[in-house]
Amino acid sequence: MRDRRITEHPILDFKTGEVIHFTFDGKPMEGREGDTIASALHANGVKVLGYHFITNRPRGFYCAIGNCSSCLMIVNGKSNVRTCTEPLRPGMVVETQTDRGVPDDV
């Protein structure tokens, strides 16, 4: 399988940002500086970001710019984080969301 990250492009220069370590459902993964959570997951081959709380169908992002809200995940224990626009930070604990989400202070 070819690498998902584009290294050579006719128009764009992609800087190879610093490696950022995070975990997805307990698995250690690497992203790059400049990634959103969803882009880093995609680079690791993760397309399924959650399962719908009613239909149980797998969910992935649709718009990638914060409109459609199909990319909601649990990040550092907080539900309903829009991972398509949320920047990836070192040490983030990212988890698949399967419910509507719970307030983080209960």
């Binding site: 492009h9 006719p10 409109n67 459609c68």
Partner: protein, 277 residues
Amino acid sequence: MLINTGVPTREQLDRLLPSPERRARGPYAMVECFQEIPCNPCSTACPFDAILPMKDINEIPAIDLDRCTGCGICAGVCPGLAIFIIDESKKDGTATVTIPYEFRPLPEKGETVNAVNREGDVIGDATVTRVLASKRTKTPLITVEVPAELVHDVRFISLIDEQSFSDDTSSESQKSPVSHETAPKTDDEDEIIICRCEGLTLRVIRDLIREGYTTVDEIKRISRAGMGPCQARTCGPLIAAEIARMTGQQVAEIQPSAHRAPVKPLPIEFFLGGDSE
């Protein structure tokens, strides 16, 4: 037809062809732009005024081939990558075509590449004679030598060891363009998701419409469609279209859903916090 297939017709192309004398004299530009679109960089970029100034930017470029030197500046700026430089002046059975090629890796001078036609089919070999990469336009111009009889067909190249982009599904030209805006019929209503946020299928929405809920807001109140985190951005237009279809109305007649602040869900403490600056 170009508008059905994405490939210009032989007739359209033949009209561009210069006289035999001009073709024998030296390189010239083939401006394969057949549609009036608002675009004029070719005419403003030509240093020899060979691409005539446009009164209206929608004009199809007109070229004075006595002035054209085949320099290729227009080919580098054309946003549609629709200009090719042809040189048929060599009398050795070969000719060259210069192609704007915005892909990586670039071929090297001397390399043999696949000669590809306007349909994307490989029609022979080509030898790269020049690679002109411009930092400014970022549109490299690749000149390839091909058998003279192919020079009016070769419009693209592919590298020989590269996996080809082409596919076995072929397209055929169509007739009678008629626009139609009805959605496809389907019997798989349970597998079609209309509201992604609340997980509502087409069947649920259709059942509600049949029960008499015929505005977007009514469907929203009874089913929560559009009340999820996207606030109906994704499902709203689909629901309005479905109501219109089932009730025989125009979408314009369907009362849209009310839009209230905030436009996205926010935790209550966000509003309590406020701005202390």
